[in-house]
Amino acid sequence: MNNSQKHTARKEGLVIQEMPDEVLVFDLEINKAHCLNETSAFVWKACDGKNSVADITKLFGDKSGTLVPEDLVWLALDQLKKENLIENTNEIVVDFNGMSRREVIRKVGLASVVALPLISSLVAPTDVSAQTSCASSHRAIGCHCDNSSQCASGNCANGTCAAAVRGGKKNIELKQQK
């Protein structure tokens, strides 16, 4: 792998919230939130367009007071690339010398005392507000419906979600379908 590659963390269209050991990033373009753990966050912040992968590896080693394998930084870059948190992602070539990602993770995990890079992500739901409204897939009693599966009660009566029927109308309908 080319450890002289230099990368720049994307900042445009992101809301960034720093925390003691983590960084939260909200991508405004796709309404997706990412939580970068300490290792991912360090690598991401070190991507200033000047530091090479070798530089970042050394900086991280200095910070954690231990020898850090370069693959650890590559693993982080690989994830950052996937989540579009690095500029010009097409230019990033991540090649683990023929090893699979899983093999690299195992190798790095055994060789390193620092945490593996981790990014957890979620798309901000569109229907937080709809959870109690008629736009939900589990509509409340009184909402318009075409069939019982649209109603939380499982009972669509005359085009309106009604109270549950004892024995469960949804179940009865399912049994009939079978």
Binding site: L24, C35, L36, T132, C143, S153
Partner: protein, 285 residues
Amino acid sequence: MSKQTIQNDFFTDKQIKFQAFGVKIGIEAEKILYLEQIYRLLEKTFPTGFEKVQEQEIEYRFIIKSNKTERGERFNLFRNDEKVIEEAGGEFFFQMVESEVRITVAEFAVSRVFLHAGVVAWKNQAIVIPAKSYSGKSTLVAELVKKGAVYYSDEYAVLDAAGNVQPFPKWLSLRGIVDPYTQLECSVESIGGIAGTKTIPVGMVLMAQYKRGKKIPKRWCPRRLSSGQAIMEILPHALPIRNKPKFVLEVLNKLASRAIIVKTVRGEAKDFATTLLNYFTIQTD
């Protein structure tokens, strides 16, 4: 034509107009009877009251239109010309209007973050329980109140810019009395509790998933979440996340830096409420 029986600053001819949490609302209908029904429901949702608003300031205008069909009278609700409820039956329509108005306030509240969550206060700190509908949130809140916790809300945790929580003591919506889905509204006083009046710091956020029959050990030791993990868990319950993500993240960061945030699987609300209050007392003493 029926006569208007409610007389106040928020009621004008064929219109209700008010401001709640900085959101300026107008509701129009052909019949004053419809508006009065909605107003009575909104009074229960916003027991702390409304503020006045001028006609030209209204940002969210709801219009109710009814039509006669072979299935009886059906109602449509429009919000700023967009149809939000279609062909609803009369029996529950007004509750649905209340719900849409409440959601609009929650989504666009000024300088506030509304989380879909139950909230109680214990020893002057809030326990916030984010959860989806039909997850037993109100039932757990009711059990906590019965054990002496102060009621803040069974629907929303209203966070201010500092990450503190203020009361939203709407009437409790309890299911499972008539059947698992029918919701009954009751005041906190009717279950022997009291509602909070002050803004308080958040002491704990509980991410709990209900599992029927789950037994909680005597020495309950839930998984503590890091600030980042906690915010990721809470985010799906934050109503304005798409409208104002920067503000939401700032507020949640303040909350997460101070509160205990735990994740667990819980069993029946009655048993779990005692465990939860004991744990919170030990952790905060």
